[in-house]
Homo-oligomer: 254 residues x 2
Amino acid sequence: MEIITSNQNSKVKLWTSLQTQKGRKQSGTYLLDGWHLVQEALNFAAPIQAVIGTEDNRKHLPEVPQGVPAFQVTDEVARHISKTNNPQGIFAQTSLPNNSFDPQYVHSGRWLLLDRIQDPGNVGTLVRTADAAGFSGVVLSNGSADPFNPKTVRSMQGSQFHIKVIKDAELGPWISALKENDYDIYGTSLEKDSVDYKTVYPEKNFALVLGNEGQGLDPDILKETTENLHINFLGKAESLNVAVAGGILMFALN
Amino acid sequence: MEIITSNQNSKVKLWTSLQTQKGRKQSGTYLLDGWHLVQEALNFAAPIQAVIGTEDNRKHLPEVPQGVPAFQVTDEVARHISKTNNPQGIFAQTSLPNNSFDPQYVHSGRWLLLDRIQDPGNVGTLVRTADAAGFSGVVLSNGSADPFNPKTVRSMQGSQFHIKVIKDAELGPWISALKENDYDIYGTSLEKDSVDYKTVYPEKNFALVLGNEGQGLDPDILKETTENLHINFLGKAESLNVAVAGGILMFALN
């Protein structure tokens, strides 16, 4: 196994470049940081370009599939690759999933559509929550946080290996395709013509659309939905965090 | 109005010290950063020691109560005081609320109890969600994130002015006092003897207890609850973010 001790090594430079969107795009890969994520990638047979571990971690490595290059790095290199303060010292470089629309996606299951959700933590938490709620996938519009940046990847906790995560999408065509397949589309709105989510019991496949943290859903999308939902507040808070609102709606509509 | 141009000014040093727990404890105050929070503090008549604004912001300042010192600072000083990358340039120094237990609290309303929730964003989001769900207050155990650190304050979005936020609490005596007042106490657990939250319809006042992100609820607390709840997952995710789980439970139990 190759042992890497310098931050100037070309592979280390590649792995570090995966902290940026440019680096991920150029290589078509992103980085998994920590035991849980590496294990999930192996469990779900994700395409892995490299497994990287410090000496301590390499000993405990689960079986790495044949043909996957494994590298040992120093603690200093591990800290250089990682975006966390105290990395566990175990990483995997894995392929970005295919992001293109596939007509077979919209024939079954529930989908979460995100309109310009900007906080990486919110995007990651929503993907994890959609997974827990049994959704088939999450579709992110242009202008959403990149689901494969280090912070989002940390928040997703491996859910990208369980359900589809599709980025840079045009939500309009997705909504049209879903409606053609007899989906109900639930938007979210604070307007008076919206309905209390507690009165809604979906009877067929549906998609839920959540909007930008500050501005809410694009008005053009609100016009295309089957129904727009709101959450009644009992206290004085003016809004909910979008990931919390998404969790309440996904689990209530199930 | 006093105009402050140097980061070495003693007041600037005081305001900057509020980024740390030590500084907040010594002064008995914390900092509100941004228009929304300052406005909420004024609307809810919070005790304010100082309002601080850059020249641009000072012009648009709402009416500051008589006797509250107001200060004008440079953009550079504003960036020094703030923990955000792009501060709005408007701040208020306000008193930490009283943290002691008061027997009158536990006679009415719903309470959220947090057992060692460590992420400041989670604590802040849970306080904001408890507010939206009409809870009376949030009680944080020893070992929870400080609700008055800058990141938590940002996530709370002013909800600390709407409901009680009590920190450094011993949850055991709180639970005893609540039970003496005929409260139901709902814990959260993944164990088999826990019940699906969707089957629970509270008929009287209740408290919900949420546990540490990694370890869950303290076993000693689980023994003291009336009932322990779990959320059924339909997908492959192993857990939910604690703030999302809290939101689902608070809104479902209402």
